[in-house]
């Protein structure tokens, strides 16, 4: 078996695969991995679509520091991070 195929199989077996991962650092930085896009974007509120629903980040002076297919980084003054299940 080739090495690349083995790695692919291991990834598929990962139980957290495609599951959203939210990491809050202090009150100024939120990292969201495995997101499905931005639903709403404003300086006070950013809503992100994930597998189980939406993640709502509320705060002041929020800014998308980095936005890519894999992860999303929000900086600003974070007041709350909430998950709304579908």
């Amino acid at each position: 078996m080739r090495k690349s195929n083995l790695i692919t199989q291991v990834k598929q077996a990962d139980p957290l695969c495609k599951a959203p991962l939210v990491e809050l650092t202090g009150d100024s930085r939120v990292v969201v991995e495995n997101h499905l896009g931005v639903l709403a974007y404003a300086a006070e509120e950013i809503s992100i679509r994930v597998k189980y629903g939406n993640i709502l980040v509320q705060g002041d002076g929020l800014c998308l520091c980095e936005l890519s297919r894999d992860q999303l980084i929000i900086i600003g003054t974070i007041y709350s991070v909430q998950l709304y299940r579908r």
Binding site: G37, V38, Y41, A42, C63, L64, C65, L67, S68, R69
Partner: protein, 404 residues
Amino acid sequence: MRIPFLGGMCRLEIVCADTVRLLNTLTNAQLQMKDVVYRNDLTVELTIPASQYRVLKEIADKQGANITLLGKKGIVNSLQTLMKRPVLTAFFLLLFLATCYLPSRILFVSVEGNTTIPTKAILEAVENCGIRFGTNRRSIRSEVIKNTLLQQIPQLQWAGVNTVGCTAIVSVKEKTVSEKQEDTEQRVSSIVAIRDGIIQDCTVLQGSSLCTVGQAVKAGQTLVSGYVNTGLLIRGTQADAEISALTARDVEIIAPKADKGRGDITGISRKYSVKFGKNLINLYKDSGNPHTECVKIYSERYLTLPGGFRLPVALITETVYYYEITEKTAVSSEDMQWLEQYAEDYLQSQMIGGQILSRVTKTEPIDDAYYLYGKYACRELIGKSKFEDTLLKDDRNDGTNRKL
């Protein structure tokens, strides 16, 4: 492997009816966005790699969004911006080259350890060895320079060169003069004749007389020996005597009839040059000077850093003073005795001691000068001390003292 950010980054302002939808589309298109700032419901600012600008523009055009390029960042863009300013680019390039070049070069040379030999002489010798402003540090061979320095300056006992930063430190050690040579009182000396003559008087105070009154002697002949034979042994002393002799001297004098002298200053001009090491850069056009009636004063001002380091850069000033020429009569034809008096004074100054007994002079004018030829018979002291190199004073030849 492609490095996405090497090509630089673009800062964009996007005006769109649905900014969130556009951002999601861009995300799905694998674009990497940074610093996405929400301005209002219709406007958003973001930064993307310059290589992804074309993809973003295609997507934005499809969604009817307006894109405004706010700025560019990155190495390539910085270089392109810098190339638009050639003077600044040349300065940075020069700075870079100087940073690479100067640490490997010798900028200063200092000398330590010398007491009697002038520093300037050592520096000149070192410069002849190849150590000068701008010399590569790696090309300095201390052994070669040591041998060359010892050959050029015989007073040196040892020499070495070390480099500290951009400074070459020349360490020298001078030879110590032996006490045997310094202490002349311990050496045997004789009296020798300095001129040809006939001995008229000979008074020997110490030593063995080798001449008699009426004897003709030649220059260099020993008149009184410093070695005294006491019968049992030969003793070395310092000969002391007063010996006068009849001598003959010839004198020729040529004096100009008129003398040119400087009058009032008619003008002053200054010329400036800059000296880098041995290279001279003139800051004026014409180097010739059509006027011969002038005095030139040359001055060098070296740039010196705080701490005493003298840079090899000097400002050279040449000040030329122009003046009038005035002629005055130096010797008049009626006053020819002045020449004879001058000749006698000159003769007296050339003697150790003595007097002129008789003279035969001949004076005649030639072209623009007066010519005097004279033969003088003198009575003068002709003895002069000469140190012997063989024995020391009070040495004996009986085998008890073998200091040779």
